[in-house]
């Protein structure tokens, strides 16, 4: 694409986003209002009930050392977020968990958002559990990417590690058997992935118009998805298998010339997968495998496999060092949509195991097709009894101009987070 064309696109997209921003703003205010109404209703109606509350307020400061592709993007950013969990028992066997989350971002209106991570009623029977509401569920064993983690949508504006999730509407039935357990999920209502806005960083060179998302299913985001998972522990092995039918959580970003933006397209998919971990003394061997079929993409298989090895209490110091190595494969190959299709993660984890819980992580994801690599560093420690600090760095090293990574070439960043926990 030639440069003038790109600029024309970005002008168009800015004009577009100016008009939608008002609508988005109104929607956000409405959300915030309904959110606070619901919260106050809960607090009032349950004055008698006992609420167990925990949460945090976290400030985040980010520096981007490279000049941005778009002059509108800033060299630094400040953001404030809070997550609170309210838990109360309901009767003898029930409980209600409400976990609101909110973020305000200095520059990115897309990152300024609220969500209920959970608004979930749980009922516990003798050999079963039932959950209804907005919930959060984790599947998987790997460190680099959790291919099998398909229930919740990624709240991708939060960070690039894909571990922050949006609350998913669900009806879940867990059946507990002697040999393990069976989870059945009915998932009404789809959550669209969040993306950084035009004023946010890191962002892709071309804007993403998340509000114009398209769906393969005529039901759009009202498609009812189904999932089931069986899991068991067999000695040193933790094993699980799942099946999913419905709207794929990971959209394909399609360029729309009229909008001058990338538009997320959500395909229908049927997925089966496995995850397994063997815990053999200091070795953890991990594998996640999925096979996906759909009408709008090539049927494919993807894999994450590797190990974690730990040296404990080194020289009697109490400190640990762990080594993580994982290989990531997607058989659609270099030209497919998966960024990590023939890549490896090598990671080192240091834990001092001191009273401040000081630890550090170093990770490199390297592409074997020569496209480039991603370096991440992270250090954590506690200050006093309630404050936790995290200093992190993410850098992209791009070796080919046509690499998908080129989008992030100028988005290297250093981030400091200070969280107050209660």
């Amino acid at each position: 694409m030639s440069t003038p064309c790109k600029e024309a696109l970005s002008i168009r997209s800015n004009a577009h986003s100016a008009s939608t921003q008002i609508a988005v703003g109104v929607r956000k205010i409405a959300l915030a209002a309904s959110f606070s109404t619901v919260m106050s209703l809960i607090m009032m109606s349950s004055a008698a009930a006992e609420w167990d509350v925990r949460g945090n307020v976290t400030g985040e400061f980010t520096l981007f050392p490279h000049t941005p592709i778009h002059s509108a993007n800033q060299a630094s950013n400040f953001s404030l977020s809070t997550e609170m969990e309210f838990y109360s028992e309901v009767g003898n066997a029930g409980s209600l968990t409400i976990t609101p989350f909110a973020r305000i971002d200095r520059h990115d209106s897309e990152r300024t958002h609220v969500d209920f991570r959970e608004f979930l009623y749980t009922h516990v029977g003798d050999t079963w559990e039932a959950r209804v509401g907005l919930g959060k569920v984790f599947f998987g064993v790997a460190e680099s990417l959790n291919l099998v983690d398909i229930i919740n949508q990624t709240d991708a504006v939060e960070n690039l590690s894909t571990d922050q999730k949006l609350g998913q509407p669900m009806v879940n039935l867990l059946l507990i058997r002697d040999w393990g357990s069976i989870d059945l999920y009915l998932l009404p209502g789809f959550r669209e992935r969040t993306f950084a806005g035009v004023n946010g960083r890191p962002r892709l060179p071309v804007p993403i118009d998340a509000d114009s998302a398209r769906y393969e299913s005529g039901d759009g985001n009202d498609h009812i998805d189904l999932a089931a998972r069986v899991s068991t522990v067999a000695g040193d092995w933790d094993l699980a298998a799942h099946v999913f039918h419905g709207t794929a959580r990971d959209p394909e970003l399609q360029f729309d010339p009229t909008l001058g933006a990338l538009v997320p397209f959500y395909a229908q998919t049927t997925q089966i997968g496995l995850d397994a971990q063997a815990t053999l003394e200091s070795w953890l061997l991990k594998t996640e495998l999925v096979h996906r079929q759909g009408d709008t993409f090539d049927n494919h298989t993807a894999l994450v496999t590797g190990f974690e090895y730990s040296f404990y209490d080194i020289q009697g110091s109490g400190a640990d060092i762990g080594i993580v190595a994982e290989y990531l494969m997607d058989d659609r190959g270099e030209d497919g949509p998966a960024l990590l299709q023939n890549d490896a993660l090598i990671g080192l984890r240091f834990a001092l195991n001191d009273s401040n819980s000081t630890d550090a992580l170093l990770g490199v994801i390297h592409d074997f097709d020569g496209k480039g690599s991603i370096l991440s560093l992270e250090a954590n420690r506690r200050f006093g009894s309630s404050v936790k600090g995290t200093l992190s760095y993410t850098g992209w090293s791009v070796s080919e101009a046509d690499s998908a990574l080129i989008a992030f070439d100028r988005e290297d960043n250093v981030r400091l987070e200070l969280g107050y926990f209660f």
């Binding site: 925990r54 050999t127 730990s310 009697g316 009273s355």
Partner: protein
């Protein structure tokens, strides 16, 4: 807190030893004396454990205060549940209340006398249950002077014992017993247990590091009897002689036979633990 009695058929072993030693009277006497000390040590260890048999299940709350050389304190709070498993090690679950950044983090342990423990960790922010390695015996528990092996389920099979005689500690008559860890990856060459002769509970433990140098001393006090049978300590203080740091554990809110069963100790219940 059961143990495998079959492992303690020590009489035939002593008999064989005696037969082998018939020719050299001096060696024989020493060996027999050694064996007698081992038998006596084991006998006391078994008696200590045996009086705890049948507790079924229990719950308790713990406050851990870390004190560094300068006297600066940091506090952790957690609650635990234990299920007695006849014929094997206990099952236990713990949840952190403090420090706040780890609030809700919970662990599940299936301890075993002779094989590796099985352990899972629940990380509430990600709703993730992780199976973790239980190899780390000697590392510090939450930055304290207690190692994982100090706070894990104490099974008779985990040590070889030698009775060293009777003494008095703080005016209390005690049996002095040396215990040598038999499990892998221990940070100790040996422990010296001081067992109250009357109540059959430890009131002091001395730990010796991998170089057999004095490392730590644990003082256990404020015992209370629950359900007319089960002694539980109210306070444990671990002093590290090598670093000058210490950790004080206080226990409270003990409850016994609260109706817990196997189904309360799996990864599903771990996720729900409050």
């Amino acid at each position: 807190m059961m143990f495998n009695n079959a492992k303690y058929q020590s009489t035939p072993r002593a008999f064989c030893l005696a037969a082998l030693c018939l020719s050299t009277t001096i060696v024989c006497t020493t060996a027999l004396a050694d064996q007698a000390a081992k038998d006596r040590g084991l006998e006391i260890a078994i008696a200590v454990q045996a009086q705890d048999d049948g507790f079924g299940d229990s719950e308790s709350a713990m406050t851990m205060t870390l004190i560094n050389r300068a006297g600066k304190e940091s506090v952790r709070r957690m609650r635990s549940r234990i299920l007695e498993v006849p014929g094997d090690g206990d099952k236990s679950m713990s949840i952190f209340d403090e420090p706040a950044d780890v609030k809700g983090t919970a662990s599940l342990t299936y301890s075993h006398a002779n094989e590796a423990d099985e352990q899972w960790l629940f990380l509430p922010a990600l709703k993730r249950v992780k199976r973790i390695s239980s190899k780390n015996k000697s590392g510090p528990f939450m930055g304290s002077e207690f190692a994982f092996e100090d706070i894990s389920s104490q099974e008779v099979d985990k040590y070889d014992y030698t009775y060293l005689g009777d003494e008095t500690v703080d005016g209390i008559a005690v049996h002095k017993i040396e215990a040598v860890p038999t499990y892998k990856h221990s940070g100790y060459t040996r422990l010296i247990n001081y067992i109250d002769t009357e109540r059959l509970v430890p009131i002091k433990v001395e730990y010796f590091d991998r170089k057999n140098a004095a490392l730590k001393t644990l003082s256990i006090s404020d015992y209370e009897k629950h359900m007319d049978k089960y002694w539980r300590a109210g306070k444990m203080e671990m002093q590290n002689q090598q670093t000058g740091k210490r950790t004080v554990l206080t226990w409270s809110d003990y409850a016994f036979q609260t109706g817990l069963s196997e189904k309360d100790f799996n990864s599903n219940s771990l996720k729900r633990l409050r």
